[in-house]
Symmetry: C2
């Protein structure tokens, strides 16, 4: 597939004019219900076609027994049916001329040999049928400028410049929830799941390609094709900041990552070196990922590593200075001009030093 072709298909995924939810349901607690109500709850403006042979109306929408009963074109299929039914459903999608799908369903590579075989089968079907899919074993995607949150519950994130790519659904959605809570502007969210067909690197290329995305945050457990990822990352970081949290750096964490999405976590040191080479900003915790992504989304990128600290209460200045020096930032002395200027604002005995303590007399 050409790069242009891939970007066009991902445009169908993130800017669909119409979508089918295969396995939509009225039964509360089922994924087919959660995904449908989340899409409705967020207010997706395109056409929604629930597909379910047993229910005629789903969440107030007319449901169709089969995909081929839908009398209109479909840009995106979201699949929430049991794993064993996915191959036939994908074939139906291809017959219906659908080229983009999100496979929420789990029960594939992460569950053992039989699951892995099924995953190979659906990947082959998709390739033959010129269809790209995210998943399986993902908690979905979101596209805020399109008012589309195809995830278990709508987050109501504000539109903006952040793109999130996560190899863990729970963790990715938690970060998305924090993003919504902190009112950081969000563009896209993609939980990549087992990455049977589309990889984190494909999403990275897409987020790099779309001008709406200003900053990219990634949660990574393992990258299969390091050379390809590196090549894409090099291109994207020239245009916008990419922040990555690589999990599985410990022995136990690495083993857990492997059984989680079936990915090899690999050497943490090798990942760190690769991030450095490609200009990716590496962070260590989910909260750090959120904070760095939020800062780069909401504020201009700093032009140097020189920092001035001003605090109300000396303790915070001390703590901030410690953190800055740990992070390799420099706290320069204050110039005479700045001191003179501050002299006109601060009490006579202020510290005339960086960090600046905005001291206050007791009475």
């Amino acid at each position: 597939m050409s790069k242009k072709d891939l970007m066009d298909k991902l445009d169908l995924m993130f800017f669909p004019k119409s979508l089918a939810i295969i396995g939509a349901s009225n039964v509360p607690g089922k994924w087919g219900s959660m995904i449908t109500t989340s899409i409705l709850g967020k207010g997706y403006k395109g056409k929604i076609f629930p597909v379910n042979p047993k229910q005629e109306i789903i969440s107030g929408l007319k449901a169709y027994p089969r995909l081929d009963a839908i009398p209109e074109d479909i840009d995106l299929a979201i699949l929430v049916i049991p794993a064993r039914l996915i191959p036939d459903a994908l074939r139906d999608c291809i017959t219906k001329d659908i080229h983009a799908a999100v496979i929420i369903t789990s029960g594939f590579k992460e569950t053992g040999k039989a699951g892995a075989a099924l995953e190979e089968e659906i990947t082959e079907i998709a390739k033959q049928g010129d269809l790209v899919f995210i998943g399986p074993n993902t908690m979905g995607i979101a596209s805020e400028y399109n008012d589309l949150e195809a995830i278990p519950a709508p987050m109501g994130a504000k539109e903006g410049g952040l793109g999130i790519i996560s190899q863990s659904g729970n963790l990715g959605l938690q970060i998305m929830q924090w993003v919504a809570h902190k009112e950081i502007g969000l563009c896209f969210y993609a939980g990549t799941g087992n990455e049977a067909l589309l990889k984190a690197s494909d999403l990275l290329a897409y987020f790099g390609y779309r001008d709406e995305v200003k900053v990219i945050a990634m949660y990574i457990e393992g990258i299969e094709n390091g050379i390809e990822f590196k090549e894409i990352a090099r291109q994207v970081t020239k245009k916008k900041p990419v922040i990555a949290l690589k999990a599985g750096r410990s022995q136990r964490g690495s083993k857990a990552a492997q059984s989680h999405t079936g990915s090899m976590a690999g050497s943490f040191a090798a990942y760190s070196a690769m991030f450095k080479q490609t200009g990716i900003i590496q962070v260590r915790t989910p909260y750090e990922l959120l904070n760095v992504a939020g800062a780069l989304t909401n504020l201009p990128v700093p032009r140097s590593n020189r920092v001035g600290i001003m605090s109300l209460g000396g303790g915070w200045g001390v703590i901030a200075a410690d953190e800055c020096e740990d992070a390799g930032l420099v706290l320069p002395d204050l110039s005479d001009d700045i001191i003179k200027d501050l002299d006109t604002h601060l009490p006579e005995f202020w510290n005339r030093s960086n960090p600046i303590d905005i001291v206050g007399e007791g009475d």
Copy 2:
């Protein structure tokens, strides 16, 4: 002063039956107003005597022009008058047979030579008069079992086992606010300010001595008498956990700490070694101080370093395993008994490994 004598005087400070607020005020924004309304707001049950020559009623309480006009005994004096008036006010306290005081007022050692001389003067007056004081340049103290919050605004913390000692007022009160917000039980708060007379080590000894205190959290910029502190810490850590955040580990941070409360920050490595020797748990950030203090206050102290992780969503298990191994904790393999037991609860394909992923099928 004997240890018994010091503990008795600190009992007067944290369990006063009556207190005088010297410099109490009706003018909003003044420290004399903030401290008075905070004490009233929290609901201190002892007797409160505002002292101010210009106001007759303060916050609904009868005010006295001078300390000697109060017809009753006073256990604790809280001073919020300008620095230059503190020496005479302390002499009045001594005449009134008061042995414990909190000097909120700033404008002492932290402002230069003249301030340092004034600080020496008031320290000498106190010593001669057998009075101990916290401060100057502190934002106050709190004693939750006594419903006393002599700080700029009442926090309404829940009664419980945590004692906080802070060499920064702003930082200490922020931690106290988080403690209140997270409903961690608080016993005492002490902002030690310039430590002209009472040092952080005296408070550490007192919090060690009082059975109500189960866990002690300290924010430290500098300790003057390392040998004394070490001796006290050794004793206290035998009885209860002590957690310390030492700030000023960087060059700039250390310099800032010096101008903040006039304390020498010293070598960070030396402090870390001393914490290790005395059994103090060292943390690096205010939030870590809060979290460790909260965990040890609300949960039993773990008996070993072996950890089992169970997560809903594999990503969190990976992250948690990474953090545990970084912290020197061990994730043992699961015993056959535990695996057998979990087999009866979890889906057939669960990972049978630690961290445990409580996987869920898609349908």
